[in-house]
Subunit: 296 residues, 2 copies
């Protein structure tokens, strides 16, 4: 997915572009022409614009491979590691690095893009924050830094199973989200037996249908609840939260609402980001980088 | 998958047929012509043969929907519930019912086919038995019966993720199984942190590659180890076994070997079925059904 946001000096989003031209569809390193073509209209109406790039565009399969900054990471450490790339038309793209948490076993964990969203959310609160997605991140903010984080492959397990598993051919995509079915799926994470693990819990989606307890149009949202419930269950076992804690949620509207429900199911107090944390994070990191470059 | 075994009176397999014509590819209930065509040659060389059908062919999407027999289930209860269907050419197909375990939450669990394999394995030992597959079954044999069982969606999670996830495009299928990579994946289930749940453990397959700790040709077997390790971890939490226990393993050669390794990793004593438990199970159930029909 290629996403571009046109923002003003206070990080308010003025326009947004979203296309399917994610890095996996770009051949032979042809990133520059895609970027130039995509935002050409913005240049015509606003003149030369500073450009910030965060996320997988700075990964091994992206435009340039940015190094990872180690946790715990303050916004300053991230800003110090940005890299500027000059384009053919004179514009400059500032790449924001990802983070690595070397305390993860058996291999260091990594994020790209979420560090910028976390900076946008604000690092000034000691709090656990979840960033739902294909590869959800759970991060701990402490002492003004991103202290540590872990990845949960929740979105991708949901997406691949809903498209390619025993559900395919039976389950039917509902016209709009079936929140009742989602909440029922979430509740399985509280059931003692089914909370023992995701591999056995997943089969409920099929046995529910066989037992007449789930309609085909309920199965997808029920699965979503089962997977997100499992993610929260794992997160609690890891120690990301205790009942009664506040938890930050940074994500798009539909996913944020699902995670808000899950947080309440697990007796948490959800603190929702107002949206466009990425824009605020880019702006904040750019400001710090500029100050660092020009001195106090 | 359509599978047929030609067996002798002592359940030895003489010939086998395996085609892709599983129930999902049969249109408008056209099961009979496929069966007749597939085994026509056996009829010509051996005359009229008794035919037994077990598995998904007796499911809601199959030829006829067989009822489920409740656990705990002795072989006699299974044999009592078989149903004979007469074909156009005079042959008779005897359908073997599946089992349901109503102690499962939130919906009763089900199996079709594995009950026959368990009868073939032998119900005369008090033991936990795992039947690896797309939907692995863990079953407890007690007092000559299948006492209870649960399904773990292990094979399907492995298959869908290896084909459709973040692995696709990076991971390369090795020419033959990479047992070292598999064992390393299994070991993650013993690591305190990564044993907390599958959703976070899965991401190791990617971070391992990023960190230079996994080659593209190692990723698939490593994933296999991670998933099967998670299955054993869940099974232990459920109470299916304790270290030092014997555990039966009933499955095809490659999978049985993977589960044998996993059993040893979890300090279990694996008891491998010699193969073709399905054939022995059909034969045993048919013998009992015949005795029941004709009296003592």
């Amino acid at each position: 997915m290629f996403r571009a946001l046109l923002i003003d000096a206070s990080a308010r989003v003025i326009e947004r572009i979203e296309t399917s031209e994610g890095i996996q569809f770009v051949r032979d390193g042809g990133f520059e022409p895609i970027l130039e073509r995509s935002i050409a209209a913005w240049g015509r109406s606003h003149g030369a614009l500073p450009i910030y790039a965060a996320g997988m565009i700075g990964s091994r399969n992206g435009w340039i491979e940015m190094p990872y900054v180690d946790t715990p990471a303050h916004a300053e450490a991230i800003a110090k590691a940005v890299k500027a790339v000059k384009l053919g038309d004179g514009a400059v793209v500032v790449f924001i690095p990802g983070l690595t948490d070397k305390s993860a076993h058996p291999f260091p964990d990594v994020m790209r893009g979420e560090e910028t969203q976390l900076v946008g959310f604000g690092l000034n609160r000691d709090m656990t924050v979840v960033l739902p997605g294909t590869h959800s991140k759970w991060a701990r903010l402490e002492g003004g830094a991103i202290a540590r984080f872990r990845t949960y492959v929740a979105g991708e397990v949901f997406a691949t199973l809903s498209r390619h598993s025993f559900l395919a051919g039976v389950a039917q995509q509902p016209e709009k989200p079936d929140w009742q079915a989602f909440l029922r799926g979430l509740d399985t994470a509280l059931d003692r037996e089914s909370s023992l693990g995701l591999l056995s819990r997943l089969f409920c989606v099929r046995t529910g249908w066989l037992a007449g307890g789930l309609r085909p149009t309920e199965m997808i949202d029920y699965l979503s609840g089962v997977v997100i419930g499992a993610e929260f269950h794992e997160a609690r076992s890891f120690g990301w939260f205790r009942p009664g804690d506040e938890v930050g949620i940074v994500g798009g509207a539909d996913l944020a609402e699902r995670y808000r429900c899950a947080a309440e199911t697990f007796a948490l107090k959800p603190v929702l980001d107002p949206g466009d944390a990425m824009a605020r994070g880019c702006r904040a990191i750019a400001d710090i980088a500029e100050k660092l470059a020009h001195g106090p």
